[in-house]
């Protein structure tokens, strides 16, 4: 089961802008993919760029996920980014824009039920977490964005892309959160207990209410996927 949530933050709302977060998912055969991409606000076409990046990685993971898993992490990152950049270039050329205007972060999780694997990939400051029993685990760390965030059009983005594999029996569920969301669920470096309880219980409605109450400045989004049958909704 997949759950999605995305809400415009106060910054964009007050400036009559748009929510720059894009979430999507896909299912093909025994593969399921969830994806979140966050457009760079200062780029003109970032919302489009986020959509293109999100759709590209989702399609790639669904169609070629099994094959990709044979490769090393850095090669998976490179092959994925090549695809994304190709699509972004096509869009940019069509509109006679610079490709940088389509910049976004992108994070995705493939659940390959046939091979019982989870493949997580993240470029940028989104967070991928997994739950197991009563515990939550950070699967990919958000990029340290104090000196600027690494995005799809950043030079050498491959070296800053995290790719991790897990046995699907290790996790009950996974969640991808945009930075506008996860910053509200951590108290400095620790996940808040009430949020941990929500995630491990699969209480995503509770999480949505919690995030709405925070009324964050940045757009806040998450997408989740149940892996095992243990999650009780």
């Amino acid at each position: 089961m997949i759950d999605k949530f995305s809400h415009i933050g106060k910054w964009h709302a007050s400036a009559e802008g748009e929510n720059q977060d894009y979430i999507c998912s896909g299912k093909q055969g025994r593969n399921t993919v969830i994806t979140l991409a966050d457009g760079v606000s200062t780029c003109k076409e970032s919302k489009t760029g986020a959509k293109i990046s999100g759709d590209t990685i989702t399609r790639l993971f669904l169609n070629k996920g099994e094959l990709l898993q044979e490769y090393e992490a850095k090669d998976i990152a490179e092959m994925t980014l090549v695809e994304i950049l190709y699509e972004l270039e096509q869009a940019a050329d069509k509109e006679a824009e610079d490709i940088e205007e389509y910049s976004s972060t992108v994070a995705s999780v493939l659940h390959d039920q046939k091979n019982k694997r989870l493949m997580c990939m993240s470029l940028g400051d989104s967070l991928i977490m997994g739950t197991s029993g009563d515990d939550c685990y950070v699967l990919t760390m958000p990029y340290d964005s104090r000196n600027g965030c690494c995005v799809t059009t950043t030079e050498n983005a491959t070296t800053h892309t995290e790719v991790k594999m897990f046995d699907d029996s290790e996790m009950d569920s996974v969640i991808i959160m945009s930075d506008g969301a996860w910053k509200h669920v951590f108290d400095r470096n620790s996940l808040k207990q009430e949020v941990r309880r929500m995630l491990t219980a699969g209480d995503y409605e509770g999480l949505k209410d919690y995030l709405k109450d925070q009324d964050g400045s940045d757009d806040y989004s998450f997408i989740t996927m149940d892996i095992s049958k243990k999650i009780r909704r």
Binding site: V138, M141, N147, R188, N189, S190
Partner: protein
């Protein structure tokens, strides 16, 4: 550059980028003439295009337009090419290339515009306190030292459990300032009657009263931390851990349940990289001017010492979810228990199967890979006794923080660099020229007018600038006195003695003495020696030079377990800039 609205991070980035943009290359008239001569010699040869490209690069970097636009008709391509060459030769004679003094001025000016961007420790401390304070306390308008003091009082139980005095004095001060008796036990109300004048007592306090357990110990601590006054003999480090506890700082040590790396509260980055380092800017703060012998002048830059059991205890409790006062109490008790238990005793498991003592990196890896900070308290304490040297009988004043302070890996790297310098045929007494882009010994005499031109009337800023450069120069090299050799022959002898002197930073003879700054100093002389005759390196821009310099320096710094070379560190930037000047001028 309006830096008033910029964060520390963006200011530091803009400073380095500004220098890199401004110094795409250093070329003077001689460089242009040499390139023109090479052009003449290669005329009609196959390498003429290459020499022409090199010539153009010099003109471009000096901002001299050079397009040959003559519309005259020539009988042949060869004739046109000859005319073009004559045009360039004439350009070299008539265009204004910077002279050596002009380049020196440009470099000084570039640094003068930017040096105040680099934060003093006080500014880093202000940032930490602003980020991590509880907004509900309402102390944001208090001075920095007062905020820290109140934080210690409210959240750290006045650090009584860490052996600090000062609590009773603060209570009395509040009462004398109007705090009603009935409210004296309400800490928020009591603290609302404490203002910055509480620190006046320090002005007349004697040595005993200023000690940690003295009447004003806590006040002195808050004052020291606020102003970046680093004390000698290991006194500052434990206070950083206590500070980290009361401000709820975090420590990231690898993938753990529900834990992320939080750069705003991380103790390693904020306290040990940004704040407690050899930040030369602090030498031009009022705390340090004229009082250097009171302070630790060259903090090692080691960061967390993973071989020190007391620091491991502090980290253990920092990672625990408990109130700050409990962290302070429990850590103090554990340190003391271990100290008593292990006095005169050696650890039993601090060597590998070959009998080689574990190195710092082994201890650090253990923290990351074996989750020792996740052990129960009893097991953790037992672990420390087994694996760590906890015997304080041979350290100064039996202070646990001073145990295992030798940096064997760093010293090994340092010696390696020194040996390489010598193998290159350089004598260490020749490695004393310090900053190359200016002669600090002339600051108060022959260079005075030049500096005043740089300052454009801002003599206060100029004074700080000169103090800073002289401080850095005295660390990197040996400042020679300006002497009149026609006078007393003793002046000539003095000048010879000074000019043959070896900087102290190149004379370190023990693992306890090595520091990050000393390794960077040694590397500075090695790099200059390695590349001083390299024509290829002379053509690089400052950005290219900086990147090469950093790549090479990081190979040593990484092995020494120090922070890598950084454009955020003023000392690093000045040495790279000076090396750039040395190679190209």
């Amino acid at each position: 550059m309006d830096t008033s609205r910029m964060t520390i991070t963006t200011r530091l980035e803009s400073s380095l980028h500004g220098l890199q943009a401004e110094f795409k290359g250093i070329y003077d008239t001689n460089d242009a003439m040499r390139a023109a001569e090479a052009l003449v010699l290669s005329f009609d040869k196959s390498d003429y295009p290459t020499k022409l490209a090199a010539f153009f690069e010099i003109l471009d970097k000096c901002g001299i337009p050079h397009e040959f636009n003559e519309n005259k008709k020539y009988k042949s391509n060869h004739e046109r090419k000859e005319a073009e060459l004559n045009y360039y030769l004439n350009l070299v004679k008539t265009a204004e290339f910077p002279s050596f003094p002009e380049i020196e001025f440009q470099m000084l000016d570039a640094l003068f515009q930017r040096f105040e961007i680099y934060p003093a420790p006080e500014e880093y401390m202000q940032r930490i306190v602003n980020r991590l304070s509880n907004q509900d306390d309402g102390w944001e308008n208090d001075t920095l030292r007062l905020r820290i003091l109140k934080q210690f009082v409210k959240y750290g139980n006045s650090l009584k459990d860490a052996g600090y005095g000062g609590g009773p004095y603060i209570n009395r001060y509040a009462r004398n300032n109007g705090c009603p008796d009935k409210d004296k036990k309400n800490i928020d109300i009591m603290l609302s009657f404490v203002d910055d004048d509480v620190f006046k007592a320090l002005e007349t306090a004697d040595g005993d009263q200023r000690r940690a357990n003295g009447t004003y110990g806590l006040l002195k601590l808050a004052d020291d931390l606020a102003l970046g006054k680093f004390r000698t003999q290991g006194a500052t480090k434990p206070t950083l851990y206590l500070f980290a506890m009361v401000y709820g700082m975090t420590y990231y040590y690898g993938e753990k349940k529900g834990i992320i790396f939080d750069p705003k509260s991380d103790i390693d980055i904020n306290l040990f990289r940004d704040y407690y380092t050899n930040n030369f800017i602090r030498f031009i703060t009022t705390s340090y001017i004229g009082r250097l012998n009171e302070y630790e002048t060259d903090p090692s830059g080691q960061g967390i010492n993973y071989k020190n059991y007391a620091e491991m205890v502090y980290l253990y409790f920092i990672t625990k979810d408990m109130p700050p006062a409990d962290k302070i109490r429990c850590s103090a008790k554990m340190i003391e228990r271990i100290k008593k238990k292990m006095l005169g005793k050696a650890p039993t498991k601090n060597k590998d199967k070959n009998g080689t003592p574990f190195a710092s990196r082994d201890y650090k890896e253990q923290v990351y890979s074996e989750d020792i900070l996740g052990l129960d308290e009893d097991k953790f304490e037992a672990f420390l006794c087994d694996y760590y040297n906890c015997d304080v009988s041979k350290v100064l004043n039996n202070r646990p923080i001073l145990l295992e302070s030798s940096q064997n890996s760093a010293f090994s790297v340092y010696k390696e660099i020194i040996e390489k310098i010598i193998k290159r045929g350089a004598k260490l007494r020749d490695c004393n020229y310090g900053l190359w882009f200016t002669d600090t010994s002339g600051f108060y005499t022959k260079s005075r007018e030049k500096l005043k031109a740089v300052a454009k009337g801002d003599l206060v800023k100029l004074n700080s600038f000169m103090l800073l450069l002289r401080g850095v120069n005295n660390y990197l090299g040996v400042e020679t006195k300006e002497v009149d050799l026609s006078d007393d022959p003793r002046n000539a002898r003095d000048k010879n003695e000074i000019s043959n002197a070896i900087p102290r930073s190149l004379c370190i003879d023990s693992p306890e003495g090595v520091t990050r700054a000393s390794i960077i100093t040694a590397f500075y002389y090695l790099y200059n020696k390695e590349h001083e005759s390299d024509d290829l390196y002379r053509t690089l821009s400052f950005e290219e030079h900086f990147n090469n310099y950093k790549t090479e320096a990081d190979k040593y710094l990484d092995r020494a377990h120090y922070n890598l070379f950084s454009g955020r560190d003023l000392f690093d930037v000045l040495t790279a800039f000076s090396s750039f000047a040395y190679i190209y001028l």
